[in-house]
């Protein structure tokens, strides 16, 4: 985000420099938007704006020199011309320095926009994207030419629900409002962390988590006002946070599971684990079976659901919350698949991952239970030994004292 702050400053610098060429460039970019694949503002190398200022300086100088020549001879004319033309050099030098500085600033800006990881762009009052944006935007949003497009059109294919999109548009309009407190509005950002789905031709899609940050920036004139937006890919962060949460929940549930297993009725527990194992293997066999047509796929989903229903009922009868929770997870996934009209193999991936988790969980339960059984047997044996030691009369004496 530090880099983004630098870019804001750079943008502000560049925006403060009035350059008619850049205005024309922006206008041209807006005209041909959609046709141009480049999303980064190319560096502008302005031609030295010599002709008009030079003519403005030269014309009076030449006129004065000619008059001096006419009245006092060629020497006076030459001296007058020299004196009048002398300031032109420093003027030109200053102008070229300013041009070079502007070019360097633009080149630097171009470099920053090309190298930053976050997508950075500008949104206008009409909620259209400006022509200036960072190169990573193409990668983050998977769009070729975002410049000039409506923000709404850009977001719609990525978001699953219309409500978030509507909330985003309301939020942006609120941000544009002059009465709104920017910092108060910021907390309402519905895209602070949002799950997006990049659809592919196969009907599947890749899920990513993006974080959008918006900031209204006031220009020198009201027409220059805009919203600066930064998008960062926070998928790693989100997944790690979820994993941590899951690990903590698992840690709690392991202790809980141990207590439940200690208290459980052994024959009922063993029977339940055996039934669950058989049901899971059957589910896997159903999914492995042939048949890839839509009716076959729906039949498979229903068959797996039926197999799991019996186990769900048994798990509810026994007090195994962790098991029931995992069963509920796979049940939800399968119910979602039932509701879909068109299924593909990819859709079954969440179900199979949850089935694997269930099988592993059942194996863990069995392993813990076996340890408990061993510990119980060991403690029973120790108790017998202790009983023998404390009651020596019960033990037959081999040697009697004489």
């Amino acid at each position: 985000m530090k880099l983004a702050t630098q870019v804001w400053a750079q943008l502000a610098d560049v925006r403060s420099v009035r350059n008619p060429e850049s205005t024309q460039r922006r206008r041209r970019a807006a005209d041909v938007v959609g046709a141009t694949p480049a999303t980064i503002t190319p560096p502008v190398y302005p031609l030295a704006p010599l002709p008009l200022p030079l003519l403005a300086l030269l014309a009076p100088a030449l006129a004065v020199a000619t008059c001096a020549w006419w009245w006092n001879g060629p020497l006076a004319g030459g001296v007058a011309a020299l004196l009048l033309l002398l300031p032109i050099g420093p003027c030109l030098r200053l102008q070229s320095r300013a041009c070079a500085a502007e070019t360097a600033t633009r080149r630097q800006l171009h470099h920053i926009l090309g190298s930053m990881h976050e997508a950075l762009f500008v949104i206008g009052r009409d909620l259209r994207l400006g022509a200036t944006c960072s190169a990573s935007m193409r990668e983050l949003l998977r769009v070729s030419a975002p410049g000039g497009r409506r923000f709404e059109d850009l977001l719609r294919p990525l978001l699953d629900d219309e409500a978030t999109l509507a909330a985003t548009l309301t939020f942006l309009r609120l941000l544009w409002s002059d009465q709104a407190d920017e910092y108060a509005v910021e907390s309402l950002n519905p895209l602070a962390q949002v799950e997006v789905r990049f659809a592919d031709a196969r009907g599947g899609g890749e899920r990513r988590w993006l974080s959008f940050t918006f900031r209204r920036v006031a220009g020198a004139e009201p027409a220059d006002d805009c919203i600066h937006a930064v998008i960062a890919d926070v998928t790693d962060r989100v997944l790690l946070a979820r994993e941590l949460e899951q690990a903590q929940a698992d840690g709690d549930s392991q202790a809980e599971l141990l207590l439940q297993l200690v208290r459980a009725d052994p024959p009922a527990l063993v029977a339940f684990l055996d039934d669950a194992d058989t049901a899971f293997r059957k589910c896997n066999a159903i999914l492995t079976g042939t048949g890839i047509g839509q009716p076959d796929l729906h039949k498979k989903v229903i068959a797996v659901l039926r197999e799991l229903d019996a186990i769900t009922a048994a798990a509810e009868a026994l007090p195994f919350a962790s098991f029931a929770q995992r069963l509920q997870g796979i049940d939800d996934v399968l119910a979602g698949l039932c509701a879909k009209t068109a299924l593909s193999g990819n859709d079954f991936l969440p179900a199979i991952v949850r089935l694997d988790e269930l099988i592993s969980h059942a194996a863990t339960m069995r392993s813990i239970y076996q340890h408990i059984v061993l510990l119980r047997a060991a403690s029973a044996a120790l108790a017998t030994l202790d009983a023998c030691d404390s009651n020596p009369v019960a033990v037959p004496r081999v040697l009697e004292p004489s």
């Binding site: 592919d200 593909s344 193999g345 079954f348």
Partner: protein, 150 residues
């Protein structure tokens, strides 16, 4: 990182390879678990080893006939054993590249190699069930096997 996300990355990677390199999309079959026995390997197998937060292997295994047709689709006439090994190696490279791009903070995708069945014994992480994803392309069947420890 969830298993679902990780497996999804590998599946998308293979599908994308068929779409771009072979220029004929493949279809993903219904995934299942290899519970009783190890997944059956076809003639050629490309393997990616993953180490780091989770250890495991990712395999792409395909029959010789399928790889030959793939090469023909790619306008390649050399159907030698070495070339077929190179092709599965290239698919393994693609898997490895995508894994590095997506899991750069969590994993090191260190080894990748292509093996002919029986060349190298495959070692799966103990206690993990390999997820087998059938890949259907034309009339051929390949398999993507993802086995990561928990």
């Amino acid at each position: 990182m969830s298993t679902e996300f990780e497996v999804g990355v590998f599946v998308n990677s293979v599908m994308h390879y068929f779409e771009t390199a072979v220029q004929q999309p493949a279809a993903c079959g219904i995934p299942h678990l290899a519970l009783r026995q190890r997944p059956q390997l076809a003639d050629y197998t490309g393997m990616v080893r993953i180490a780091g937060q989770r250890d495991g292997v990712v395999l792409f295994t395909a029959p010789r006939s399928m790889l030959c047709v793939m090469l023909m689709c790619m306008q390649d006439t050399d159907l030698s054993h070495e070339h077929l090994r190179e092709l599965v190696g290239e698919i393994a490279n693609t898997l490895s590249g995508d894994a590095q791009r997506n899991f750069r903070h969590q994993y090191s995708v260190s080894v990748r190699s292509q093996v002919h069945e029986g060349d190298i014994p495959l070692v799966y992480p103990a206690g993990a069930h390999p997820i087998v994803i059938p890949i259907a392309w034309r009339s051929y069947r390949a398999r993507l096997v993802v086995c990561l420890d928990s």
